[in-house]
């Protein structure tokens, strides 16, 4: 089973995005595309010819593979149904953030590779948002790690100490804000926009087409699902198995599906009820989240749990 976790993430990540889109459409009074639409989109993109700018270097062609590999490698040490990990790949929350940083680094380079203003703008904003998000995310994860006595996600999840103290609620809220920012959703970024001046993620991948774009989109879905998984692993590990093998996986599978659906609906609700804020208002939102994360830590130390 532990070997299949990787494929669960790879295969179901477009579905999660489809659900978010569908729920969002319904909340906005539209019918919206079916939940399988992301799969059709990926397939369509894979079968298209590519247009590549003559200004670009090999960085541009390597980036889709690096981005895809980096987010997928993270799936190897994030528990989905069971806390056992496969292939001896060991990693923790710090490794997770840095593996994502590898993908982001190449993504930002590729954004600047074509020599256009939009790509540069996207890269610049992406790196700026990362500067605001990473310390806060790290601090929130530290609070959870300190409770469990380990930074390994599997150990935190297996410790079953989730939400055992008020500090965890603070850390959870900081982490949810971090995830909204990391997955490029409203109010930080708008995943549906192609209006030049407002895009961040879409700006960086503007020059991509065909199979490269498919890989980029897919990697983005995978990253989103991994981040959702990390949140539920750490804060709501109810139902996760601690064994290997296939037996007794019904409960973990059902609870995981429920948890993902809830998070997807939550994301859709946030996106539908909030407006995207101006870029330079982000520091106050994300700074506020940093304060939450810091309070989580202090509460934890003062209360001793």
């Amino acid at each position: 089973m532990e070997y299949l976790q990787l494929f669960i993430i790879i295969l179901f990540s477009p579905l999660v995005n489809g659900v978010i889109k569908k729920v969002k459409a319904n909340m906005q009074g539209r019918t919206g595309p079916g939940v399988l639409q992301p799969y059709y989109d990926l397939l369509r993109l894979l079968r298209k010819d590519m247009v590549i700018s003559r200004v670009t270097s090999w960085i541009f062609s390597v980036t889709p593979y690096v981005v895809f590999a980096s987010v997928t490698a993270a799936a190897l040490f994030v528990p989905v149904l069971t806390t056992r990990t496969a292939f001896g790949v060991k990693g923790d929350v710090i490794a997770l953030i840095y593996v994502f940083a590898l993908g982001r680094f190449f993504l930002a380079l590729a954004g600047l590779d074509a020599g256009t203003a939009f790509g540069g703008e996207g890269s610049s904003r992406e790196m700026t948002v990362a500067i605001l998000v990473e310390p806060m995310m790290m601090l929130a994860l530290f609070t959870a790690a300190i409770t469990a006595g380990s930074t390994n996600i599997a150990s935190i999840s297996g410790a079953h100490r989730a939400l055992s103290s008020p500090s965890h609620l603070l850390a959870l809220s900081a982490l949810v804000i971090a995830i909204i920012a990391e997955t490029g959703r409203v109010p930080v970024d708008n995943p549906d926009t192609h209006l030049e001046l407002t895009m961040i993620h879409e700006g960086m991948i503007l020059e991509y087409s065909g199979r490269y774009l498919a890989l980029m989109e897919w990697a983005h879905y995978i990253k989103q699902m991994i981040l959702f998984t990390v949140v539920v692993d750490i804060f709501v590990p109810v139902g996760i198995a601690q064994t290997a093998g296939f037996s007794g996986m019904t409960v973990p599978a059902v609870s995981y599906a429920v948890k993902m659906t809830v998070l997807a609906v939550l994301m859709a609700a946030v996106e539908s009820t909030r407006a995207k804020v101006r870029f330079f208002q982000l520091p106050s939102i994300l700074g506020g989240a940093f304060v939450l994360a810091f309070l989580a830590l202090v509460t934890h130390i003062m209360m001793g749990k």
Partner: protein, 682 residues
């Protein structure tokens, strides 16, 4: 020593024999470097660039001997008698061995680079001479056994680096050289003072004797020594706010010297701090460690915040050195807090993280400075706003610079990632401490490290992309050509080591652990079978498996898109230009534009000044021209250094009144002094 068995006698004989071999290797290495210095002045001027090959042989010898020291029992080494009761002394232990290895690895590759870079330059002999002198004095610093030897080597290092900084003989270099000399000597004053205090209370000038007598030093004096060491060595290492000489000196020094200064010379300061505060003084009070973590965090965050604003390739890298020293200090500080609470295995772990990061920084920073040097050599400018698209003209240099960039940004699976991961873990283990202050400071240190990491990423994306990607921004960039094979070879080897040290961290940790043991007396508790497991099993990481899975997934992805998509055409076209044809290089994102959001968000730190001049034909409708200027305020220079310098200037002007040049007045001074002595002396 009683030797009752012949086997022991034999072992002792071999130990003696081995020590002789090691000693002779050191002497031979030094001789090689001295030959290099002589050769640099005597060889035909066309062949002077080959004098660096002497230093590569010397470095190899030092590398072998230093590596031996890591696993041999410490032994007192050579002494060169000067007077009856004083001699230049050198001693050999694992800590020194580690730093000898660190210097040797960098200088070995750098000597190849230098051969390529300095071919046919004017006064190349002098350059090579002082390069060799600098190298030898650095070996001297880490191997010296008493304070006088240390200071003589330390000052030789300062003098040699001064002549290297002013090598280009222009106004900028002269100013930077002067600034460096002044700053270095302010640091040296503190180092001399701390040595005097140490010698006063321990009654010895030998480090080994000081160590055994250190327990008898009163706590006030210990605190004084610690503070002086932090200031004195911190000046050389470039901690904020004593960093100001670094962004001035590094950019103007010749391109084959900067890697030595940044990669290695600042590590001798780290060595000095470790030798005095951790080795000689031993465990200190809790606030020492916390202060070191705080200073480290401040240097890391502020260093990289200033770096990211720079559009000068070398100044950027110089500020990034300040940041990395900060990271090293955070590890050292964590180690000191653990030692204070007698958690020795954790102290070893934290120190290992710091030393590993010092080694890694030596590798990737010399790689990056070599890359930057190649770019400057090829394009003739350090300003990245005039570069761009160099990856096409300089494919090797570009790819190797990218490798250094990935390593310094701590991206897995390269070496920077592993040492930063260890530093995070060391800081997080602070939670095991019983002190509430440590419990809060350590995770905040971790958050500072995360902030640093994210800004480093932004800074290096900006630097690499503006220099190597996109369209060329000037003729400089269009005309740049690939560097010589010597230079590419050196950078390739460094990049290779960055990869190996990341994917197989067991190898560098083998170099680190004896040095750690020699300080903390507790061996490094780091399980390396399959994956790294931290002490008390708080986390595990396997970069080997991670690297392998990254490669395999990428290959699988390539295969998958081929299978699922089939053969498709790829059309090469122009970038998207919104329908306006002829996108040109001036429309690209610039380095300044890239960091504009940070200037706005951190405006309280940067204090940016903006200047907008508009001249009108008919005000306010028809504009003739707009001039825009913007700069950030160098806070410490303006609000710390300038007032001090102004104050000193004022004081000097006042004191100058005493020196009127009139003989009668001077005779009057003597008379007044004499009367004063007669009155008060009796």
């Amino acid at each position: 020593m009683a030797l009752d068995q012949p086997v022991d006698l034999l072992r002792a004989f071999f130990a003696f024999f081995e020590n002789m071999v090691v000693l002779n290797t050191f002497i031979a290495g030094s001789a090689c470097i001295l030959f290099g210095a002589i050769a640099s002045l005597t060889l035909l001027s066309k062949a002077r660039n080959y004098s660096y090959l002497f230093s590569s042989v010397g470095s190899l010898l030092f590398l072998a001997a230093g590596g031996y020291l890591l696993y041999a029992p410490a032994f007192a080494g050579a002494a060169i008698p000067v007077t009856s009761n004083f001699s230049f002394g050198f001693s050999f232990d694992a800590l020194a061995g580690f730093f000898v290895v660190l210097i040797s690895i960098v200088s070995l590759f750098l000597s190849f680079y230098s051969v390529g870079l300095t071919r046919g330059i004017r006064h190349g002999g002098y350059l090579s001479f002082f390069y060799h002198l600098l190298l030898l004095s650095m070996y001297g610093v880490v191997l010296s056994s008493n304070i006088v030897t240390f200071l003589v080597c330390w000052e030789t290092m300062a003098v040699a680096s001064y002549f290297l900084i002013v090598f280009d003989r222009n106004a900028e270099a002269a100013k930077a050289g002067l600034f460096t000399v002044v700053m270095t000597h302010i640091g040296t004053v503190f180092i001399i003072a701390l040595f005097l205090v140490l010698a006063r209370f321990t009654g010895s000038m030998e480090f080994s004797a000081m160590r055994s007598a250190a327990a008898s030093i009163p706590s006030g004096a210990r605190n004084l020594i610690f503070i002086f060491a932090l200031i004195g060595f911190g000046t050389k290492a470039g901690i904020i706010p004593l960093h100001t000489w670094i962004p001035r000196a590094y950019p103007v020094a010749p391109s084959n010297v900067t890697p030595l200064m940044s990669g290695v010379m600042i590590k001798t300061a780290v060595y000095g701090f470790l030798r005095i505060c951790l080795d000689v003084l031993g465990p200190g009070p809790e606030w020492w460690g916390i202060l070191v973590i705080a200073v480290g965090a401040a240097s890391a965050v502020l260093g990289i915040l200033y770096a990211v604003m720079e559009s000068d390739l070398k100044v950027f890298l110089a500020y990034s050195s300040v940041e990395n020293v900060g990271i090293i200090l955070m590890g050292i500080g964590a180690s000191m807090t653990f030692r204070n609470s007698a958690m020795h295995p954790l102290a070893s772990f934290a120190l290992a993280a710091a030393l590993f990061h010092a080694l890694n920084h030596a590798l990737f920073k010399s790689l990056l400075f070599q890359g930057a040097g190649s770019v400057v050599h090829a394009a003739g400018t350090r300003n990245m706003e005039q570069l761009g698209g160099l990856l096409k003209n300089m494919p090797w240099t570009g790819a190797l610079f990218l490798a250094g960039t990935l390593a310094i940004t701590a991206l897995p699976p390269l070496n920077g990632f592993v040492s930063e991961w260890l530093t995070y873990q060391a800081l997080l283990l602070g939670f095991k401490s019983s002190s509430v202050v440590v419990k809060i400071v350590s995770p905040l240190g971790g958050a500072a490290l995360a902030l640093t990491g994210a800004i480093v990423a932004a800074g290096f994306v900006k630097t690499f992309a503006t220099t190597f990607l996109g369209m060329p921004r000037s003729e400089h960039a269009i005309d740049a050509r690939e560097s010589s094979p010597w230079m590419i070879a050196s950078m390739s080897l460094l990049a290779f080591l960055c990869l190996i040290f990341g994917v197989f961290p067991g190898i560098p940790l083998m170099l680190v652990s004896p040095a750690v043991f020699s300080i903390t007396g507790s061996s490094l508790d780091l399980d390396l079978h399959g994956s790294m497991v931290t002490p008390q099993a708080t986390a595990s990481l396997s970069t080997t498996a991670l690297a392998l899975s990254l490669v395999l997934i990428a290959l699988a992805a390539i295969l998958f898109v081929r299978l699922a998509g089939g053969r498709r055409r790829t059309v090469i076209a122009d970038s998207w230009d919104c329908g306006i044809p002829a996108l040109n290089s001036h429309m690209q994102y610039t380095a300044a534009a890239f960091t504009k959001p940070l200037r706005i968000i951190y405006k309280r730190i940067y204090l940016p000044n903006r200047e907008l001049k508009v001249s009108y034909i008919v005000k306010p409708f028809f504009v003739r021209s707009i001039t825009y200027g913007g700069e950030i305020t160098p806070f410490f220079e303006r609000y710390v250094y300038e007032p001090v310098m102004r104050g000193m200037h004022t004081a000097a002007t006042k004191i100058k009144l005493l020196q009127s040049g009139s003989l009668q007045l001077y005779l009057g001074y003597i008379l007044i002094t004499l009367i004063a002595l007669l009155i008060f002396g009796t």
